[in-house]
């Protein structure tokens, strides 16, 4: 049996997406912007099989999102039953965007395996149907996901303003509420949700402009605000979505202290307890040392900005 393999990296949103539009297509409610990471990698191998089978990190899995994704794809294309084997070299389902890299790698592999003939923009659109943030992992550098088409595109290559991301893993457990479910709670119950929607376009514009001008400090300000606005939505949802643990808060305070001392760093946190410190390359060693002091050496991963999703040897 022939097999095809692809890899993709998670991306870290600087302008967050939290909440979907109330219509089909898995469309974010607000424009969002990310950087694609290196080091953290999902590798996915697809091969023809008697029936669909998903293996995640060596374990047989049933995943309703993957099933739905394949069903939608087959409404449009002839795709035979597939054995899908996917491996993450980082914790899965713990706020490290494993679904982003997962669906980006999956559509990249299937596109080749089943000869769908999709260009990168259309692959991004398909990846979005699996997991909205996955649309961004089709691209490298600074990546935007905006209306009306909601296909990601590159705003600027990594070389425009290279950044490093120092990930502090504070807890490797899978989160108890999925992002999909959590977003629905926030949309339906947070008293701050409509203000969040109204502010999204301005936050996106401010971040785009900061990137355009290579203004790290401005990017830091708007990115931390976007992160804290999102976590405020989460905290004020019913049920409350509380993703921070004591180490997360200790890392936030440490990053604030570094920044107050003039270090070019800011934090961002997704729907999980891990903290990502985004910094200029020259600040990386100081940031990594500081976070290692809090969470331990082996819980800190230093990432550069990574490549777009692409094919690899199966």
């Amino acid at each position: 049996m022939s097999a095809t393999a692809a890899q993709a990296h998670p991306n870290i949103a600087l302008i967050k997406y939290w909440g979907k539009q109330d219509k089909p297509g898995n469309l974010p409610a607000t424009p969002n912007l990310s950087i694609t990471l290196a080091e953290l990698t999902t590798r996915t191998r697809v091969s023809s099989a008697g029936r669909d089978e998903l293996w995640l990190n060596g374990n047989r899995k049933e995943d309703p999102k993957v099933n739905g994704f394949l069903a939608a794809l087959r409404k449009k294309f002839a795709v035979e039953p597939l054995k899908i084997e996917s491996e993450n070299n980082f914790p899965t389902g713990a706020g490290l965007a494993s679904s982003a890299s997962g669906f980006a790698a999956l559509i990249t592999a299937i596109n080749e395996h089943a000869q769908l003939g999709l260009n990168r923009e259309l692959m991004s659109e398909w990846a979005r149907r699996g997991s909205a943030s996955a649309a961004r992992s089709l691209f490298s550098g600074y990546v935007a996901l905006v209306p009306p088409m909601w296909r990601a595109h590159q705003l600027a290559p990594a070389s425009h303003m290279p950044l490093n991301v120092v990930v502090a893993i504070t807890n490797r457990q899978t989160k108890s509420v999925s992002s999909t479910q959590g977003m629905e709670y926030s949309r339906l119950t947070s008293p701050y949700y409509s203000a969040w929607l109204r502010g999204g376009p301005d936050d996106f514009a401010a971040a785009s402009s900061a990137i355009n001008q290579r203004d790290f400090e401005a990017l830091a300000q708007i990115s931390e605000l976007s992160c804290l606005k999102m976590h405020s939505l989460m905290l004020t949802s019913n049920p409350t979505l509380s993703y921070w643990n004591p180490a997360t808060v200790a890392c936030m305070d440490a990053v604030r202290d570094l920044r107050n001392q003039g270090c070019a760093v800011f934090f961002t946190i997704d729907a999980g307890p891990q903290l990502k410190a985004v910094c200029l390359p020259e600040a990386t060693s100081q940031v990594a040392a500081t976070l290692k002091n809090i969470v331990g050496d082996e819980q800190v991963i230093v990432c550069g900005m990574g490549d777009a999703a692409g094919l690899i040897e199966p």
Copy 2:
């Protein structure tokens, strides 16, 4: 020289006040509701003197708020220069409402010493000019501070539904941003401030109704929401106001776990890192033991509901 003394207790807001009206009188922007504590106590002694002198916990202090308070009072009443000696049996300026008990004790002592003849409602109004939450410490039990008069009144006595408050002190340092300054930052910069204002009356009504019906679970829900909405305002202000430390978050998680196990407890947190676990009396020992495990035995104070401000032996 004759001396007069009064004592008052801090109060813990269940429906929070964060942000003032943009007009004179130190008026909260939203209705708020508290319970008055026992155990934590401010004792204030006033005596006639050659000129105003403030002693706080044995140290000579200049406090612009106290100076402004005395100046306002003297526009209306003949009050001679005063030596004011005030003692707190708990950390000052660390999110334990020392200014609430402080101004409540102060107006109670001055009212007697200078024979101002104010009734309790008018003392509440004067205390509010010093510190808005101080208006509530004139009363015992469940206390409301609402428009249009913005004088506190008792909603229900403590005996209606007795509660205990288990205070976990996570940090005894004075906070770096005062509440007055912080509220201004939030009013001027938080994207969620207008939603906060809009939601205030409904939150107050929900809490009043829960108290009226002795519905602890409903009171728990709306009180935690009000707390988390306020901290979301703080986090999304510029500069960001981040009052939680790792131990605060550990205590929040512990209270959530207890509540999920059926224990009648909820948390609230003011503009500081201390956590207050509010519980039915039968839950007190379990709550206190749990929080002592996190912050240490000597950092936990168990309070009942306390008396109104009143005169004591000088």
